[in-house]
Symmetry: C2
Subunit: 393 residues, 2 copies
Amino acid sequence: MIKVKGFKFSGISSGLKKSGKKDLGLIFSETTCNAHAIFTKNKVLAAPVIIGKELIKKNSIQSIVVNSGSANACTGKRGITATNKILAELAFQTNLKIHNFFPSSTGVIGSQLDYKLINKNIGKLLGSLKEDSSEDFAKAIITTDKYSKISYKKLKIGSSTYNFLAIAKGAGMIHPNMATMLCFFLTDLGFESKLFKKLINNASNKSFNLISVDGDMSTNDTVIGLSNGLGGNVTISEGSRSLYKVTSLVNDMFYDLAKLIVKDAEGGTKFCKITVKGARSEKSANIVARKIANSLLFKTALFGSDPNWGRIIAAIGSSGVSYIDQDKIDISIGKSLIVKNGVEYKKAKILNKLMKKDEIEIGVNLNKGKESSFMLTNDIGVKYVKFNSDYRT
Amino acid sequence: MIKVKGFKFSGISSGLKKSGKKDLGLIFSETTCNAHAIFTKNKVLAAPVIIGKELIKKNSIQSIVVNSGSANACTGKRGITATNKILAELAFQTNLKIHNFFPSSTGVIGSQLDYKLINKNIGKLLGSLKEDSSEDFAKAIITTDKYSKISYKKLKIGSSTYNFLAIAKGAGMIHPNMATMLCFFLTDLGFESKLFKKLINNASNKSFNLISVDGDMSTNDTVIGLSNGLGGNVTISEGSRSLYKVTSLVNDMFYDLAKLIVKDAEGGTKFCKITVKGARSEKSANIVARKIANSLLFKTALFGSDPNWGRIIAAIGSSGVSYIDQDKIDISIGKSLIVKNGVEYKKAKILNKLMKKDEIEIGVNLNKGKESSFMLTNDIGVKYVKFNSDYRT
């Protein structure tokens, strides 16, 4: 049974999704939480992101409300009003303040959010709150994800057992519109506020920021963490003995969810980890890995199980990283070295079998330094094009 | 009849292409030329590019030799030797120097170039040189281009008529390997050397540098211009009365070829011009246009005739241009305004018809300045994926 002390969940159908599937979710903590959120770097922001950025500053978040079925993005002032009306209704019915709530939306860009429909259902949403309903919430936030994405872990510190729950929805390749990545992380372990921010930032940098589905960036992407400290008396700070364990645990949870998101990429048939080492900095290693991950020629070769290293090395060279020396580049597929010093080492043909696997590891060694980074990505196949070229109605 | 005074051409089959199609071409001027070349910015360079970069510095190019069927890229020292052996054979048989020749290759990356096969055919190649054989040359340099790409113009200055010829091969979406864009520009009009460089650079910046087929960058891309001045006594310099006419003519030729390249994109079904205006600089306008042109979600929407402006505005926002204000963005398709101040202005549905055309114009106004830029691009359809995911044998 998934439970995080002091947190309740609900997920209902409000009618936003014409299919009648769940489309409205709520997370509710007994008390206000330590909260930290990371938002999309897109300059075009959905209304809930614009509002959420302000609300989180007041440091008194207690509840998160999420709708699927409409992104409430590019909806102008009407969109801002819509989100505010929903928060006001929640505040009214719970006798709390607007700044105790954090909003999130996902779905089609450009259509106005029917807040009246949502507000009619706020009573039902609040009435459905239960400690063990996190799966209902997870279902309410998905769009075209094939499955809901949940990671749940426990950790004993001192005499208490603390709970950690992260719920995400998929990024990319989403028909009919676009990628939105949402992640809600909840824990009943207490944290010193600055450290909690660092924890969420670092875990995101090592997971969600290292995935590339189709290279496009959403208007709604949000990662938010809430810690209510109701699991026991421990508060984690920089000096805490359990810090390493807690950090590893959260990093693992975020990484697992990032992997699930890539694996669930619509139209994708293969999962690929691209590791670049021998770089002068982690940043430049990531630039190279990202360039390969976003190369359409590489992604289609992956779909076709083609160990076409020419496309990989051309992507490496076009990454803009200045210190790259083509005569030093090694490339491997799985454990097989395919390119040594920029020249074919093993005939690509015999690697065809390796490329047919569902999970593929591409290794690049620039042989110019000691830093490394990686990207998680997927292939682009015929299904992707079909999904994403259909008219959006 | 296409002729440029003092230039001869040939295009033959050497056997590099297993199909038996033409794969070896030569351009030969009676005298050494004013020459200027622009190369790919990829850090991974094909052997002919590495060698060509050095040879052009000696300023005595008289002939260009091009093979298709093998890119001679990622071939290490053997690849360098191969190109040098070909140039040495040409120099030997013509009694010229190696630095009178400029090499170029296009085809599959990573396989060694069979220079012996080429050298066996140098005699035949030289023997086939004719003033009116430029179309044979154009055929010899293509890979999977559906047609050869030639632009030919004449201009009367004073008492003489001067000739301008540009021959290109396609960029991108090339099965079985990758994009290579080559352009050879020849004229019998004389130019002051610095001005000729500027002419070639500017015309390229307004054409080949504004196309995006799949966002990948080749190891072999080369644009080279040769001017032998044999058409008459005129030498164009900064003060020349004909400068504007000549510049416009060359700009038009390069633009026409760039357009042909995009239109011939393998698997592409639609041609799209994306214009961004109201920017604070031409550079930032181009960054925005390029981001849209490279957006896979946009490209698949284009394929599906879907006026999905959410994908366009999300690409604009994620371009990294800091001054963008989502509430000021206007978007049009053809002459129809679809987004005004970041919000839907006209229902996307009624624009479906417009999107079904073969040529589509997308207009973006950032309403933040007076500068503009554009990109020429194409859609990504099911055929593209099929072409590029097949195994490369």
